[in-house]
Symmetry: C2
Subunit: 521 residues, 2 copies
């Protein structure tokens, strides 16, 4: 859907009448199509300082209402200067958070049909479309059938806001599943364990539980363990395993925990880590899962999961059948506007057993019939937005083939950038080659600088940081750097809809200049 | 902002060019303005059955993209029949979830400026506008100054999705604040309590913690206690105290917990309970708060909080200065589209001490300068949407006086309905008089039916349920019923933007007919 198609679509979403518009000061107005059409002419990063906005706004809202043109003028004047443009082709930081025109129209309709859709009768279409599009997506990414809503084991998908919210949901459900299991094995009836004795035992059990996450799993697992009030341990993922968790690393961490009297109950396996897009050894971990069936293994594919729509990545999905849950964010790479994380479980009862509370004011004949899904019992908050609409619009507007072309375009750009780095082996070391469009690299010290290994590492870190800071300070591109196992790396991923080879070339030239500047010192 | 103003505003939000539109099949298209303009002609509730949508959709997304008109036609054909219309004047269930035109435009712009705004540099305007509008709102509702972002004690506000999410955030922060305190008093340094000994003690402490909520507090407090992995106890709120928690009830619950060796760490006080809009004895509870300063007291004003913009309700806010936190949902009564819950704390450090984790890839010079707010450390998820934009648009479009008029209109309708019930004392008993536009009532048994008190209660419950079911089955109005302390009540609140006296009169007549139908049996 291009600008003029969006214009027609969005106009038609507002009204069907034929009309002519007149504005007194059109140049003051910020328009959506115009915003996107002029995006490449704007700097990707704002040049304001912290606290820029407060002095520009009155101390409170107006007493009487203001006309829209006055409000709209302030968007361009006050808000635009403070925006970081994630859809800008020079945005190459973190991961993309891609917007699209059909995604925007989805949000328009979703906000029009506003409902706090916490159960089926609150707006049946909201629940039903969500179940359907999540089944579509599960099939698109070749997720094992046990995750479909009509699977015999009672699996299914739900849209939550973000991967971090999903992980809290999984961690808490995993914790309570383990508590119920251990209570049962101690002779308590887990459906009525509200005696003081059972509560004391449950508390003792929780006190020994430990959540695990790979060394390079996203920090949200550690945060989820804090929220769940349990311990957290890291599973090593050294550079020698390309920053991925191996089966043996997971197994020895589990055994070390058990040797200390702790009970591992949860593990986040990562498909595309934040720092380097590493993929944990999913097949090996599946074998560990079979040996420890009470540990809830969740696969976090927040960013890279979108690539699973392409056949060439679908060899990654068969091991999922051995894991309890899986998620990826359609709002990262799959052109659905933020927020939209698809969360799949093999056993939805694992969620409802923990999160379902039905006070009198939420009872209704549909819920009691058991024929409907009340998604509130699959998540932390009660209310929910109509997020499936934007997903439906995006899937239908691009089509599966269109989305594959988009993903493959990003992957190709990553390979192009990796190739540019390889063309200057005198200046750069690729630390992790292009994976899911992300490449990480270092600036190489002069070979003569030192022969000592440790000193060389320090020098590479120092030079890389210095080069990053030169580029970062100029604010022409938005990149991120990080440190993995003591290695300072620059991360580069260019995978939004406006990404193009020429911008990747430009950022490479900026990096060469920065690296050479350091070389000369 | 009326339909034609929204049309002009929304068109102008999309493009500034003058144009004429032509559609081949305009009647197939569902339009936003048209949706609202024809809302009253539609039934408030859908008449489809569970599972209606799946047979109407293909088994998967299309291979190649479809043109917009084809997608848009399906909104009217497939989605509309499955919607419950929360903006319909015959929607009088639960609480309102009010939408408004400026709210919709806010979501349009928010999705246009898509960013996963987890820290300041991710898009500074998103953070800064949020801080500013939350200060505006705190002043509008006369919240004590300790909740402002520039208060000496370091308070402030954040927008989260829903009250239930806010309550999980408060409960977990409260739990960890208590754990840190008790670790410190046992001689551990809470900033570095990662030794096994400290972790064991922390687990033992958590095992004795108990969260409290009023008997009629929203179920989200109980759910939050489950998520936090701690016990939960209810504080009685009987009909004799108008279903509100009194200071003495809270005090004796706290003391009963302590007598059992449990440690109360959190309490939700309610300003406008879900069932009856009861207000707990906030002044009395403030005195309890002074005696138990380590218990985190949160005030949940999810629905009724919007009324605090009116001077005549602001006598309720001074006790807040004794409580740790407060929230209300602008998406319920204040015309900001779902989701938007304003959450205020007196001490933001209580949040960041629990939720802040900064891995290498999230470090940046702005965060490290300490001059900026990174709201991710005040909440459970990492990423966040640009929600303050719709708040800003709504506040400016209506103005404070316009919003007050709207709130007072709802309150007046509630009183009108209460008056109608009073005019038929032969048929109805008002259980809780109009409070924040909500009235709850019962159908009255014939006076001769029985003289036994218990039997009379049963008969009133039976008749009320029967009358509710008659009205509910006809689906002309959407109402909810619930049970409080064994009393079956019908709840009625008509407080959306299309609410009018005539609809309240109509629902009253439907209730009279239903009650009389039962009388005759």
């Amino acid at each position: 859907m291009d600008s003029s198609q969006f214009r027609e679509a969005a106009y038609s979403a507002i009204d069907e009448s034929n009309f002519t518009l007149n504005y007194h000061h059109p140049m003051l107005f910020e328009k959506i199509v115009q915003y996107y059409d002029t995006l490449t002419e704007r700097p990707v990063l704002p040049s304001i300082s912290p606290g820029y906005l407060k002095p520009l706004l009155p101390p409170g809202p107006p007493s009487e209402g203001e006309p829209w043109p006055q409000i709209q003028a302030d968007i361009e004047k006050l808000i635009q200067p403070g925006l970081t443009h994630w859809q800008h082709p020079k945005y190459m930081a973190f991961f993309p958070a891609n917007a699209s025109y059909p995604g925007i129209i989805g949000e328009m309709y979703s906000s029009t049909f506003t409902a706090a859709a916490f159960n089926w009768i609150c707006s049946p279409a909201i629940t039903e479309l969500e179940t359907i599009v999540l089944d579509w997506i599960a099939k698109m990414i070749a997720l094992p059938e046990c995750f479909l809503s009509d699977s015999p084991g009672g699996g299914g998908g739900i849209i939550q806001g973000t991967a971090s919210e999903v992980i809290v949901t999984a961690v808490v459900a995993a914790r309570e599943r383990m508590v119920r299991k251990l209570l049962t094995s101690s002779g308590f009836d887990p459906t009525s364990h509200e005696t003081e004795e059972a509560l004391d035992l449950a508390a003792t059990i929780r006190g020994k539980l430990v959540a695990l996450g790979g060394e390079h799993a996203h920090s949200s697992t550690q945060k989820a363990a804090i929220i769940a009030g349990t311990r957290f341990r890291t599973v090593p993922a050294p550079q020698s395993s390309n920053f991925a968790v191996t089966a043996s690393a997971l197994r020895s961490t589990i055994e070390a925990c058990k040797a200390k009297g702790l009970e591992p109950y949860y593990f986040t396996a990562t498909l595309g880590s934040t720092a380097t897009c590493a993929v944990d050894d999913l097949e090996g971990i599946a074998a560990v899962a079979r040996d420890y069936p009470d540990i809830w293994i969740h696969v976090d594919a927040a960013y890279a999961g979108s690539a699973l729509i392409c056949d060439e990545y679908q060899h990654l999905t068969p091991p999922m059948q051995h894991f309890a849950s899986f998620n990826f964010n359609l709002h990262k790479w799959l052109l659905v506007n933020f927020d939209c994380s698809a969360f799949y479980v093999q056993c939805r009862k694992d969620l409802t057993d923990t999160f379902s509370i039905t006070p009198a004011y939420l009872r209704n004949s549909y819920t009691e019939s058991g024929l409907v899904t009340d998604y509130r019992d699959w998540q932390i908050p009660l209310g929910r937005r109509f997020r499936s609409l934007k997903v439906w619009f995006v899937l239908r507007t691009y089509g599966v083939e269109g989305l594959k072309r988009f993903i493959r375009g990003g992957i190709k750009l990553g390979e192009y950038f990796n190739g540019l780095l390889d063309s200057r082996k005198d200046l750069f070391t690729v630390v992790t080659p292009a994976a899911f469009a992300l490449t990480t690299f270092q600036v190489k010290p002069e070979s003569s600088s030192t022969s000592e290994e440790e000193k060389k590492k320090e020098e590479a870190n120092r030079l890389t940081k210095a080069a990053f800071e030169i580029v970062d300070k100029k604010q022409e591109f938005f990149l991120t750097s990080t440190v993995v196992n003591g290695v300072y790396i620059i991360r580069l991923v260019s995978a939004n809809e406006r990404a193009e080879e020429k911008y990747v070339k430009q950022v490479f030239e900026a990096l060469v200049a920065a690296a050479e500047e350091k070389e000369r010192r």
